[in-house]
Amino acid sequence: MNWTLLIFYLVSAVLLVSSILVVTVRNSVYAALALMLSFFSASIVWIMIEAEFLAISLVLVYVGAVMVLFLFVVMMLDINFERIRQGFWKYSPAALGVGVLMVLELSAVLLSRKADFDKLVGPKPIQAGSSNIEQLGLQVYSNYILPLELAAVVLLVAIVAAISLTLRKKKLSKYVDPAKQIAIRREDRVRLVKGRSS
């Protein structure tokens, strides 16, 4: 067993354990921290398959930005996550049973006879001197331009959907329209009543 393989198994074990922790820990801040750890381990695995740029962007974007934002949301909103997750422990035996059954079935199929997995070939090693980022940029903006643009459309739809689902045109603030305020006339506000002096 060489070092690369050892590191791979170690990092994968951390990835698996931290991912399980994300859904099982009771404290949602701990869950967010465990998610950060699992992202970080995943980025190490990506570095090992020579996808350095993706690994760095995973750390920068998800660990650096998205998860910090998420932590802010968890801390600022007073959401009782325990109440939301009430059903979790109730249904977990059934879910665990189904999951274990699936693992057993898959391993039974794969181990029962000699599977021809040795036919699988890994990716070709990248030649020295070629830049990962340069290759990625060239591919994404030429051969993969169509999926890239479609991803942009998906994001646009996500924005439209998120706004239409959360925007409620209810007027909550006591706000005065300046245009109406300026256009007001004396007759609208003051009514002169002839008083009778006695």
């Binding site: 898959l106 990716p123 051969n143 331009i145 999926p147 459309v153 959907a161 239409s164 689902l165 409620r168």
Partner: protein, 484 residues
Amino acid sequence: MISPWNSADLTFLKPELWLLCSACVILLLDLVSKDQRKAVTHWLSLLSLGIAAILVLAGGVKSPQIVFSGMYVVDQLSGLLKFGSACLVGLVLIYGRQYFIDRSMLTGEVYVLSLFGLLGMFVMTSAFSFLTLYMGLELLSLSLYAMVALRKDDSLAIEASMKYFILGALASGMLLYGMSMLYGATGSLHLSEVSARIAQGQTSRDFLVLGLIFIVAGIAFKLGTVPFHMWVPDVYQGAPTPITMLIGSAPKLAAVAFVIRLLVQGLPAAFVDWQSMLIVLSVASIVVGNVAAIAQQNIKRMLAYSTISHMGFMLLGLIAGDAGGVAASIFYALVYSFTTISGFGILLSLTRTGFESDNLANFKGLVKRSPWLALMMLMVMFSMAGIPAFVGFFAKLSVISAIVSHGFVWLAVLAVAFSLIGAFYYLRVVKVMFFDDSDLDVVDSPFSLKCFVSVNALLLLVAGLIPQPFLSICADAVNLSLLG
């Protein structure tokens, strides 16, 4: 070898580009329009749908053109299905307008999300690599999730939307897992290269079949076939009726194209494996769909179970696997979606403000209240049940004869037996309309809605009396696309 991308490929993308641009323009115009009835948005959306349909027809090609470095294919099959889905979305907008106005749900998002959803369907029908297939699917699904939840204060709709979203995300995850395994086994995302490499026999077969299981499970979720059908009745019942109509019609055309691209064109070498999986899905859907529909009193739930059984019938053609079977499947999908949409259109004509009319009892004595609509509903139900002289009969006949020619006689007998059981609940609607008395009011629906619904339903009869041109259009499209 896949040719690299060049800008001439854009000419094959005219309908999609038009749809994208017009959806963005309508999104912006809707922001500044003050009109409560959204007349400008409505007519512009219909206009852009019409132009998109014309562009699809004008861009028809004789032989398949693979463009964007193997990511996208334009052929007769995609042209036919794109034209059909553009028409269906247009009909949804026409039928649904009064419903949305009555319930003050008419927002610009309905139109914009429908157009983006249609763009997703276009991409799904023409995608030729795992990446574009998935992007198209997500574009369609995201638009639909949001539209189900449009009525924000209706807990049933929110529940339906959550179920749809979570199960849809799970299905997408399964699909991606399967696609990643196929990528691992073949080293390519392009369907043409995937099929070529499998044919060369250089890949691990066990790994391939493992990936295939996940892909078929993901597809079954999206199609709503048993045993992955649990979301269908809840979503159909919970969503606003026009949105149910949208979910039940045009996306099914995109889904059949998705299955054809992925399985028939991408994995022909694994035909034996996915054929047996599809047989299980199809038999289970036909049995469960038809039996469970009998117990439903809510007509939207009943139509949901009927959709499940129709999807099972549609898969029968793919089980045959040859060009004739694929053509039969496409014909079935087209007939099913146009029949369903006219059924929902009639359902919509019976609704009023504050009255949903989605119960079977609301159809009581319809013949006295609106004889014309009752006659139209009779034709829709006869067509769905597959009674001769209506086009639904020829759809069922073509898929069943396709599998019989491949020796699946037991499957054909089972399909016929369960479509007889299915005829019970379709005819029950007819019985309720014609022979039960009711004290409900006279139906008063807009004339334009009645016109479109009538033309839609009468087409089912016309296509049933002269089915040959429609059948040959499907057969030609498949022959030119799969063999050419």
